[in-house]
């Protein structure tokens, strides 16, 4: 192992950072506000706070050269805002977080991206979508989620899991609670489990025309919506999803400092891993610069870095492009990269290209949710209730 001095990630100069931030600010100002200034003071405050929050983080991301540090702040805020916004919305619309049979029959269940893998095969076979959601219009419609998913997949591949998923910020956030992991050794074979879950849920969804993962496994039902417990079967399902939430989203991320739900369970993540193959951006390791200190292996939240990766010069297919390995590499040997170009090429330009696309996606995708989350908190402060 060579022992050269630490080489911190290089940021851009002030001039270039300001130009890029102004560009981002113009786009986000239009997208966040939809071209009009809100009349309600709470909405105006929420818009301004969200706008400043996003663009400050973007400035720091570009200027400091640190990717994961500022991405994680935005990403976790997005997840927390979603919970506040979603639960408030559910209470306004239904009076509780539980889902009644009537709402299922009326196809009023919000659609999330985790359902997508289960809908594809039945959609191809039967030309129907096996989810009781609204196709267009309403809250979280199926069509809007598909459009977002296709766009994000083309732009980011599995980067969606670090730059778009509104659940991922939870285990990402909890994985940063402790300074050092309590559980250090994890068998890397567990990274195959999401693929097994994907195989299982795709097959069962195709066989039974039912979104199996949502019914049985989704841990995020604990903080969004769930079926009212009216039978033993639903009670078992509830125990499963609550246990998975506590275990994989809270406890294990704290103890391991890894994103355990995303790395060891999520079938959507497994499917997105496959889309990394068609995505133009990837993460590469410059073997000339790498001193095999294995810092990247220690910090990767999804075990996507291995000794084999260092030999091959690229992470595993499960890489979420979060940038943690890039931030932590003492030699600056790891970087974002555009496929088909030289690994030791213009890495700063590749980074800017990726970050602009990724940040634009998360900021636009999250803007309404973060704004709504802020409005709900302001309502709580001023009226004592988050719902209207």
């Amino acid at each position: 192992m060579r022992t050269d001095t630490h080489q911190a990630p290089q940021g851009e100069g002030k001039g270039r950072t300001i130009i890029l931030t102004v560009m981002m600010a113009v786009i986000t100002a239009i997208m966040f506000s939809h071209g009009k200034i809100p009349q309600d003071p709470k909405e105006a405050i929420a818009l301004i706070v969200t706008f400043l929050f996003a663009n400050t983080l973007f400035f720091l991301l570009i200027y400091t050269g640190k990717t994961d540090r500022y991405r994680a702040v935005y990403f976790s805020t997005f997840a927390v805002a979603l919970i506040i916004s979603f639960i408030s919305h559910m209470f306004e619309a239904r009076g509780s977080m539980s889902l009644s049979e009537a709402k299922v029959l009326q196809c009023e269940v919000p659609f999330c991206h985790l359902v997508i893998p289960m809908t594809l095969v039945p959609m191809a076979l039967t030309k129907t979508i096996i989810f009781p959601g609204s196709l267009i219009g309403g809250y979280a419609s199926i069509a809007s989620m598909f459009v977002l998913w296709i766009g994000a997949t083309l732009a980011l591949g599995r980067g969606f899991c670090s730059w778009g998923c509104f659940y991922g910020g939870l285990d990402d956030g909890f994985s940063r609670v402790l300074k050092r992991p309590v559980i250090k050794k994890i068998n890397p074979k567990w990274i195959y489990l999401p693929f097994a879950v994907l195989l299982f849920v795709v097959l069962t969804a195709a066989a039974y025309l039912s979104p199996t993962y949502c019914t049985w496994f989704c841990p995020f039902k604990a903080v969004t919506e769930f079926e009212a417990v009216t039978s033993t079967k639903i009670l078992i399902q509830t125990i499963i999803f609550v246990s998975l939430f506590i275990g994989l989203v809270i406890v294990l991320p704290i103890l391991t400092k890894r994103r355990t739900q995303c790395a060891f369970l999520c079938p959507f993540g497994a499917m997105q891993s496959l889309t990394n193959k068609i995505n133009v951006f990837d993460v590469r390791i410059d073997k000339e610069k790498c001193v095999k200190c294995k810092r990247c292996i220690q910090v990767c939240p999804t075990l996507s870095m291995s000794e084999e990766s260092l030999e091959q010069g690229r992470p595993r297919i499960t890489c979420m492009k979060c940038g943690k390995c890039i931030d932590n590499c003492p030699k600056g040997a790891i970087s974002y990269h555009v496929k088909g170009t030289d690994v030791a090429g213009n890495n700063r330009a590749y980074r800017l290209l990726f970050l602009f696309a990724a940040f634009l996606f998360i900021s636009i995708f999250s803007s309404h949710i973060i704004q709504d989350g802020i409005i709900r908190v302001l309502k709580l402060i001023t009226t004592g209730s988050m719902i209207s």
């Binding site: 489990l193 097994a196 195989l199």
Partner: protein, 211 residues
């Protein structure tokens, strides 16, 4: 119900492929044949497997006639079998066990037999007759209905489900992923095992209520 045969086959196909390719691939590589000729060998192998499965289907039907028809409530026995086999499947999935694929023994025999044409068929037949957990689950499912035609069709669907996974095998280049597929297959088998455990418990509860 018949779709369950296909589903069970599809769920366990990766595991079947992972365990049976150590026989097929060395044979194909050893013969040094073209992809088209490898497909012919694969067809012979699958033909043998189908024969093995149909033999299983017949046994499953006999079990149903001799045991289940005399019981007042089938749910209790079928549920209990589901539980036993699902536990077996989970042990098989999560613990290191010897491959239960009977066709493994053909590796030695293959060196002795001088008729290459028979090797894939025999390998297929033996793999079809293997007493491994996915087959036992399929047998339990098939035995839960009374007719021979159901039993035969169930195993035929199971055969179709597992056979899909064999199609890429002649493209030897894809073998690099076998280790990962084997792990994924075993894990998927474990999840299927959990599903059958749940189904078994529910079936037993329903059976107890039916008595």
């Amino acid at each position: 119900m018949l779709m369950q045969g296909l589903f069970l086959g599809l769920s366990n196909g990766v595991t079947c492929v992972a365990y049976c390719t150590p026989v097929l691939i060395p044979y194909m590589l050893g013969e040094g044949k073209s992809v088209a000729q490898n497909f012919l060998a694969l067809s012979q192998f699958l033909l043998g497997r189908l024969a093995g499965y149909l033999a299983f289907a017949f046994v499953a039907w006999l079990i149903n006639l001799s045991v289940l028809e005399r019981l007042g409530s089938k749910g209790l026995l079928i549920g209990a079998l589901y539980i036993i086999f699902s536990c077996f499947l989970m042990v098989y999935a999560f613990f290191k066990t010897d491959a239960p694929c009977a066709a493994r023994s053909i590796g030695y025999i293959a060196g002795k037999i001088k008729v290459p044409f028979l090797i894939p068929i025999l390998a297929g037949l033996l793999s079809g007759l293997a007493f491994c957990p996915p087959f036992l689950l399929a047998m339990t499912d098939a035995a839960s209905e009374g007719s021979l035609s159901y039993s035969l069709f169930f195993f035929f669907m199971f055969f179709i489900g597992t056979s899909i996974f064999f199609i890429p095998i002649p493209f030897v280049g894809m073998l690099r992923r076998l280790t990962a597929l084997r792990i994924i297959g075993k894990m998927a088998a474990g999840i299927v095992g959990l599903y059958y455990l749940y189904a078994g418990i529910i079936t037993v509860i329903a059976g107890v209520k039916g008595i």
